[in-house]
Symmetry: C2
Subunit: 292 residues, 2 copies
């Protein structure tokens, strides 16, 4: 039923979407493999900071070019300093190439006023070929129960989320949240560490392994439903891409089981329109300091 809804959205080829334009990387010098220039777009900011999932997709695109395998299978990112819109460079290293998997490292850097490089994010990743994996599926995982998209809530459906600062990223995403998990937006957080919703890119670009790196970090943080407000900076985020996603909207659930000692983990599961679990992620984040 959602496929027909999606079919009405003008399809943007993966090469010309906002997401692809804003995650483009350019090999700096054909004689120097693995070094890429990039421009961090102001269009993917949340709370005035560049979204960590968007940055991860950008790093993922560079690694996909540098490594012999095309698809991210597992990516682990350590966030060092906040990124700002503007020029950036990605330095990659091929650590190991193998038959099934290749392993690489990448750093995203920006420039200080004196021109020196400041590292923003460091990543380790294993890449493979999702189309070459065997077709076996033996799973006990079930997709989250979420009302149909028309019964879920987007930014225009209710009170503005109580997020201070600019959040340009909301214009680029088509997120519809399960009403049961948006109590935080009206001052009544559920106290449960779960947020669920539908995810698409606003211009209708279909999901692929790179955009899944964005998807896992795009919903409002579970901390909001736990009654905390404010910035929830990611320390570490690991994403496993388990399957190439089918066209159509994605279902995403993020959950937190343990908020303690000033940190919380946030687990994301992403399901495609064919009912496959396409991505799993976990991040460790610093808990916001302000009670809602």
């Amino acid at each position: 039923m959602y496929d027909s809804a999606m079919a009405q959205v003008a399809q943007v080829t993966n090469g010309s979407s906002e997401f692809d334009r804003d995650t483009a990387v350019t090999l700096r010098d054909p004689g120097v493999p693995g070094v890429y220039d990039a421009e961090l777009s102001a269009g993917w900011t949340i709370l005035n900071a560049v979204n960590g999932g968007y940055l991860l997709a950008l790093l993922g695109r560079a690694l996909g070019d540098a490594l012999p395998h095309p698809d991210p299978i597992t990516v682990s990112a350590y966030y060092l300093t906040p990124s700002a819109p503007g020029p950036a460079v990605i330095r990659t290293e091929t650590i190991r190439t193998g038959g099934t998997l290749s392993t690489g490292q990448a750093s995203l850097l920006q420039y200080a006023e004196d021109g020196t490089e400041v590292e923003r994010i460091r990543v380790l990743a294993a890449y493979g070929d999702l189309d070459a994996l065997p077709g076996d599926v033996q799973t006990t995982a079930l997709p989250p129960a979420i009302p149909a998209p028309q019964d879920c809530l987007g930014p225009s459906d209710g009170p503005a989320p109580a997020i201070p600062g600019s959040s340009d990223i909301t214009d680029r995403l088509d997120i519809k949240l399960d009403p049961a998990t948006v109590g935080w937006a009206v001052g009544a957080p559920s106290g449960k560490g779960e947020v669920r919703g539908w995810f698409g890119l606003a211009d209708g670009r279909d999901a692929d392994p790179l955009s899944l790196l964005l998807t896992v970090d795009a919903l409002p943080p579970t901390a909001f439903e736990l009654g905390l407000k404010g910035w929830t900076p990611t320390v570490e985020l690991t994403v496993h891409i388990r399957c190439r996603p089918a066209p159509g909207l994605l279902r995403v659930s993020i959950t937190t089981r343990n908020l303690a000692g000033g940190f919380l983990e946030e687990d994301a599961e992403v399901w495609d329109s064919a009912g496959r679990l396409v991505a799993q992620s976990r991040q460790l984040a610093k808990a916001p300091l302000t009670r809602g």
Copy 2:
């Protein structure tokens, strides 16, 4: 009730236990910070390979020495090539030092016959001070239900686990598995992706953040209960240390929700005797190729 049982075990100070002896690292040259020599012990092998959690603890010890903060908060390891007992070197890099967290990188390398270094594992990690974290706990996670240790099964309690090859590590661990999760050992795997049990070090050394890096990768793989046999090589393993563990046995659960495309994730939770969730981990592993 388990505290009294533990009190009967001769206490080994953390400095003289098998675990501490075998994870010792030595700064190679006082003039060259961050490079450590180590000896991979044959005492922590499983299926003739050196256990990945033991290796992670060794890397963790080197990083704890190299970085200004003492405790691993999050550690992400990419396993590149199988390690063998014998000499190794750990090369660390301090990426960023901050007030609450420091971030580092480490590589474990061994030597080829011609003396060249071969990289075994690469790690990114954020270190902090667990004793300096605020005491807030707002958790919905509950410890796994496991029968008392005397009602659980160790290596001497039944049919030998159907693991070919040497598994010297079993002599160094005090693992008692929930009988409901050891069907694989008698040819009747449950089909559920869960293994639960009690964990201690055989010589009675208490847990600390470093030994937790071993604990999360020490139980038989969930793949066995899913009816698969054989080697389940880790591609990536991330551990979050959430709290300093109290003395006494630990409760560990490992679960798999999704086995697909030749890979499975394995999530571990570790609980201490005080009922605190002390570690969470997730790994992506290659599924064994043999049906049980």
